[in-house]
Symmetry: C2
Subunit: 212 residues, 2 copies
DNA sequence: GTCTATAGTCCGATAGAC
DNA sequence: GTCTATCGGACTATAGAC
C-alpha cells in the first residue's frame, strides 16, 4: 500500500515535470512573438492541444507563467559574464562577449525579444530581485571594463556606454529581425551573412577601442 | 444665409483639425509607451479629458488612428539620409548621422519606439509603399557607404552591416530607455551623460572604421 | 460635435464533473 | 490530472440623447 502510494506520487511528479516543461517552452515562443499582454493563454494551450484550464492548473496566473519564463532566460546571460570575467585580456573577452551575444540573437531570438518587450513596456513585470540581479551583473561588467581602461588596454570610455553599444549592436539582430529580412530581399540572413556580421562587428569594435 | 453656412463649415473644419491634431499627438505617446495592442482608446481619451466616443468620431477604428500616427513618423527619417548625402567626406557624414539618430532617440523616443513595436510584431501593419520607401532609402545609404570603402576612406566592411551597427547603437537609447533608467539609479540620462554617449559613440565608430 | 450608456467580444481565472 | 462550462472584467465600437 505504502509502496503503491509512493509510486503514484512519483508518477504524478513526472507528469507534472513533463507538462511544466512543455508549457514553458510553448509560452517562451508565444511571449517572444507577441509580448506579455498580446500573448494569450488560449494560444499557448492551442499550441499544445491542451485546454487552457490545464495551463492554469500548473501555473495559477498568467504572470506566474511569464515570470517562470523570464527567470529561465535570465540564466542565459549569467554564463557570458562569467566567461568574460575569466578571460585575462580585453581583446579576447570582447571578442567572446560579442560572439555569444550575436549567437543568442541569431540562434535563439526568443530570449532577447522577450527581454525587449519587457523593457519597452517599462519593465513593469520585473520583480525587485530580478532588477537587483540585473544591477549586480551590470556592476561586475562595468568594473571589468573600467579595469581595461585603467590598465591601458582600451581607450578611455564610459564602461556603461560601451556595454550599451555592444548590446545595441547585437540585440538589433533579434529585435529587428523582420526589418532586416525586408532589406535582405525577404530572406533571413544566411549563415555566410551572419559570419560576416560577426567579423564586421568584432573588427569595428576592437579597432574602435583596443589599444595595441 | 449662405455666408453663415460657410462660416459654420469653416468653424467645424477648424475644430476638426484641432481635435485630430490633439488626438494624434496623444496617441503617439500612448502607442509608443505600450504598443498597439496594450494601448487603449480610453487611455488616450483620458489624457485629453475627452470621452472615448469622441476619438471614434474622428478616427472610426483604433487601427485608423494607429496608421495615421505611423505615417506621420515615417517622414522623420527622410531628412537624415539627405543631410548625410550632402557631406563630402565619410568622417563628417558619419559624425552627423550618428548625432542626428541619437538626437531622435533622446529627444523624441516615440518615433523609434513605435517603429520598434511594429517590427517586433512582424511589421504586420506596414503597407507595401512604406516597405518600398524603406528599401529605396536603404539603397542610397549603402551605395554611399560603399563609395567610402572604394575610395579608401573607411575600412572594408559590408555597408549594410555598418548601418545595422549604427542603428543598433543609436536606437538602443530609445528602445531600452527604461532599462537604462534602472541601471542609472532610476534616473533618465542627464544632459551631460547624453553628451558623453554621443562622444563615446562617435569616437568608437570613427576609430573603428575611418582610415586616416 | 459632444456626451452617456451599452452592445458585443475576448480574455484570465475558477467551479465542478469525471 | 484533465476537461467543459462559465463568471467577471476590460476593451472596441456603436446607439442615441443633447
Amino acid at each position: 500500500m505504502a509502496k503503491q502510494t509512493k509510486n503514484n506520487a512519483e508518477r504524478k511528479q513526472r507528469v507534472r515535470n513533463r507538462n511544466e516543461k512543455k508549457i514553458i517552452s510553448a509560452a517562451e515562443k508565444i511571449f517572444s512573438e507577441k509580448g506579455y499582454n498580446t500573448a494569450t493563454i488560449q494560444e499557448i494551450a492551442d499550441k499544445l492541444n491542451m485546454p487552457k484550464a490545464n495551463i492554469h492548473y500548473y501555473f495559477p496566473t498568467k504572470k506566474d507563467l511569464y515570470l517562470t519564463v523570464i527567470m529561465k532566460l535570465r540564466d542565459l546571460w549569467k554564463n557570458e559574464v562569467d566567461v568574460m570575467m575569466t578571460k585575462s585580456d580585453a581583446k579576447t573577452a570582447l571578442r567572446i562577449y560579442v560572439r555569444s551575444l550575436l549567437d543568442i540573437s541569431f540562434e535563439n531570438p526568443h530570449a532577447h525579444k522577450i527581454w525587449n518587450w519587457e523593457m519597452m513596456r517599462g519593465a513593469r513585470n520585473l520583480t525587485s530581485d530580478i532588477r537587483e540581479s540585473m544591477k549586480k551583473r551590470n556592476k561586475k561588467e562595468t568594473a571589468l571594463i573600467q579595469s581595461w581602461v585603467d590598465t591601458g588596454q582600451i581607450v578611455s570610455i564610459e564602461p556603461q556606454n560601451l556595454l550599451y553599444f555592444l548590446w545595441g549592436i547585437t540585440t538589433h539582430f533579434s529585435h529587428q529581425r523582420d526589418q532586416i529580412k525586408i532589406l535582405n530581399g525577404n530572406k533571413h540572413l544566411s549563415k555566410e551573412q551572419r559570419e560576416k556580421v560577426y567579423d564586421d562587428a568584432v573588427n569595428m569594435i576592437l579597432r574602435g577601442v583596443i589599444i595595441e
